[in-house]
C-alpha cells in the first residue's frame, strides 16, 4: 500500500503538540500567559521551600515594617510585615495555594455543571429546558454572595465546602451561554446530517455541539477565575470562607484593608498577586481559544 503515514497515531500526536507550541510562541500574549501561570503554579507547589518565613509566625516587635526599598525596610522582610509582624511575601507565597485551588477548581466545577446543563437543555428543549432555565432564573434572582453565605452557613465553613458552594452558585452563567450557542448550532445542517445518519444523541452532543461551544466557555471562564478569587476573599472577610491559620490572597487583602492609609503594602501586594494571576489566566485562555479553532492554523 503506497499509503505514507497519513494517519499514524504517534506521529500525528507529535505534530499536534508541535502545532500547539508553534502557535503558542507565535502569540506573544499566549507565551506571557503561560509563563505567568506556570510560575505561579510552581510557587504554589513549592511554597514551603520558597517562602523565607512561616506565614503565621507573629513578631510583635516588627509590625508594619515597610518593603525593602523604603526607609525602615530591610532584607529580612522583602515586602514588609503586616499589623501582627507576619512576613507579607511568605503569606502571599502560601496564599497562592488556596487562592489558585479555590479560583480554578470552583470555576471548573461550575463549568462542568454549566456545560452539561447548557448542552442538554439546549439540545433536547422541552420540559428539561423549562425546568433548568427557571431554576437558573431563581439562582440569578438571589445575589451570588448571599446565596454562598447561606450555603456556607448551613454546611459550615471550610476549604472543600467553599469550592463546592462557589461552584454550585456560579453554574448559571455558563449554562445560559452554552445553551444559547447550542440553540443556534443545533439548527445547522451538520447536526441535521448527523441526525439523519442515525448518530446517537449523546454522540451528537459531545462530538458535534461540544467542540463548537467550548471556545465561548473558555473566554467567560478565564474572566471569572478572577471574580471567584475576589468572591472567596469577600467570604473569608465575612468569616465564612477560609479559616485561619490557612492563608489566601483574599484574607491577606481584607486584613490589610484597615491599614490602607498608613501601611499601603499590606493590601497592595496581595492585590497585585491577584491581578497578575488573573492576567496570566486570561492571556492563556485567549490563546487556548485560538488554538481550539482549526481556522487559526495557516
Amino acid at each position: 500500500m503506497p499509503q505514507p503515514s497519513i494517519m499514524q497515531g504517534p506521529a500525528r500526536k507529535n505534530s499536534k503538540l508541535k502545532r500547539w507550541l508553534k502557535l503558542l510562541f507565535r502569540s506573544k500574549t499566549g507565551t506571557v500567559g503561560l509563563v505567568i501561570v506556570i510560575s505561579i503554579v510552581i510557587i504554589a507547589i513549592f511554597a514551603p521551600w520558597l517562602a523565607p518565613h512561616e506565614p503565621n509566625v507573629i513578631d510583635p516587635v516588627n509590625t508594619h515594617k515597610p518593603p525593602v526599598w523604603m526607609e525602615g525596610g530591610d532584607r529580612e522582610n522583602l515586602l514588609g510585615t503586616d499589623n501582627l509582624g507576619r512576613d507579607i511575601l511568605s503569606r502571599i507565597i502560601y496564599g497562592s495555594q488556596i487562592s489558585l485551588l479555590v479560583g480554578i477548581s470552583s470555576v471548573v466545577l461550575a463549568g462542568i455543571i454549566g456545560i452539561l446543563v447548557g448542552l442538554f437543555t439546549g439540545y433536547f428543549g422541552g420540559f428539561l429546558d423549562t425546568f433548568f432555565m427557571r431554576l437558573a432564573d431563581s439562582f440569578l434572582a438571589i445575589p451570588n454572595i448571599l446565596l454562598a453565605l447561606v450555603m456556607l452557613g448551613v454546611f459550615g465553613p471550610g476549604l472543600f465546602t467553599l469550592i463546592l458552594v462557589l461552584g454550585v452558585t456560579n453554574w448559571v452563567q455558563y449554562a445560559r451561554i452554552i445553551r444559547g450557542e447550542v440553540l443556534s448550532i443545533k439548527e445547522r445542517d451538520f447536526v441535521r446530517a448527523a441526525k439523519s445518519i442515525g448518530v446517537k444523541h449523546r454522540n451528537i452532543i459531545f462530538s458535534h455541539l461540544y467542540p463548537n461551544v467550548i471556545s465561548s466557555f473558555i473566554v467567560v471562564a478565564t474572566l471569572s477565575v478572577a471574580s471567584t478569587i475576589i468572591l472567596e476573599s469577600s467570604l473569608s472577610f465575612l468569616g465564612l470562607g477560609i479559616q485561619p491559620p490557612q492563608v489566601s490572597w483574599g484574607t491577606i487583602l481584607s486584613d490589610g484593608r484597615d491599614y490602607l492609609a498608613t501601611s499601603w503594602w499590606l493590601a497592595t501586594f496581595p492585590g497585585l498577586a491577584i491581578t497578575i494571576t488573573v492576567l496570566g489566566i486570561i492571556f492563556l485562555g485567549d490563546w487556548l481559544r485560538d488554538i481550539l479553532d482549526p481556522r487559526s492554523v495557516k
Partner: protein, 334 residues
Amino acid sequence: MSEHPLLEVRGLQKSFDVTKGFFKKEKQYLRAVNDVSFTVQNGEVLGVVGESGCGKSTLGNLIVHLHEPTAGKIVFEGIDMSALSREQLRRQRADIQMIFQDPFSSLNPRKRVFDIIAEPLRTHRDLNKEELQQEVLDLMDLVGLNRSFLNRYPHEFSGGQRQRIGIARAIALRPKLIICDEPVSALDVSIQSQILNLLKKLQKDLQLTYIFIAHGLPAVKHVSDRIAVMYLGKIVEWTTKEELFTNPMHPYTEGLLSAIPIPDPTKRKEQRPLLEGDIPNPVNPPPGCKFHPRCPYKTEICMQVEPEFTDKRAGHFVACHHPLGAEKQAEKKL
C-alpha cells in the same frame, strides 16, 4: 427486486404551529406538506420542483425523518416507518441519506475530512482502524477528492469540494435512497454541472435512487426520470420527464417551463405565459384550487372546489380542473 416500490408516500402531512401571541385562543397552522402521495421505484430519480416555501424541503426532511409527520405514512421497502421502534429507526436511517443545500453549514467546522466521512461508518459499521481508513480513502476517490485532503478541515475547501465531502458522507453506507436537497443551488454555475455529473455518475455506478429537490426545472431536467411539481404543500403534477417537458398539463408547470431562459435569442417567442404574483400565504391558503389566484385559465369551479389529483393520461397525474392539452386530446379522439 422486491414487488414493493422502494418508497411509497401516502397522504403525508406536516403542519407547523405558527400561533402568534400568548392569548390567542385559535391555533394557526402552516401546512407545509398537505396530503402528498407518490411512489419512487428502485433505481429511478424523482425530481421535486417548486418555488421556495412550497414544502419541498419539508418533504425531504420528512422522508429522512428529521421531522415527524403530522399524518400519513412513509413506507420504505414495504415497511411503515412510523411503526418502527427508536432503535429500528436509527438502523433504518443507514438506508436513507441526505445531501444538503448549503455546503458551508453541512460540515462541522471542527472536524477533519476523515472524521466527517467516517462518521456514518463509525455509527453503523464495525470497522477497525485500517479498514475505516481504506473505506474513507475509497470514498474520496469515488467523489473525486484528493487523498491528501484527509486531515484537512472544511474551511480549507471551496464550495464544490465541500459538497463532494457531503456527498461522500451520504454515500458512505451505500444507502438505497438519497434525498438531494437542492445540492447545487448554493454553488457557482461552473461547479454546478460538475456536481450534477458526479451525482449522475454515482447513481449509475452504485445503483442509487434519488429524490432530487430543486426550485427550477433546468436543474432536475438533467438528472430526473420522473418529476413531481409542488405548489403550496401539494403535488400538482407527477409524470415522466419527457411527458412533463413536452405535454405539461398543469398551468403552473407551464409557467415554470416558460420561465426557463432560452439562450438563443432568435428562438425566443414574443410572448410566453409567465407566472405573475407571489405564492399565497400558506397559513391562509385560498379556497378551491390553491393555484387559482395566479392561474390564467381559472373559472368559477376553480375558486370553490379543490381539484383531485388523478391520472389523466397513462401515468400522468395532475390536480387541475382544466388540464392543458385535454382539449387537444379530446379533438384527437373525435
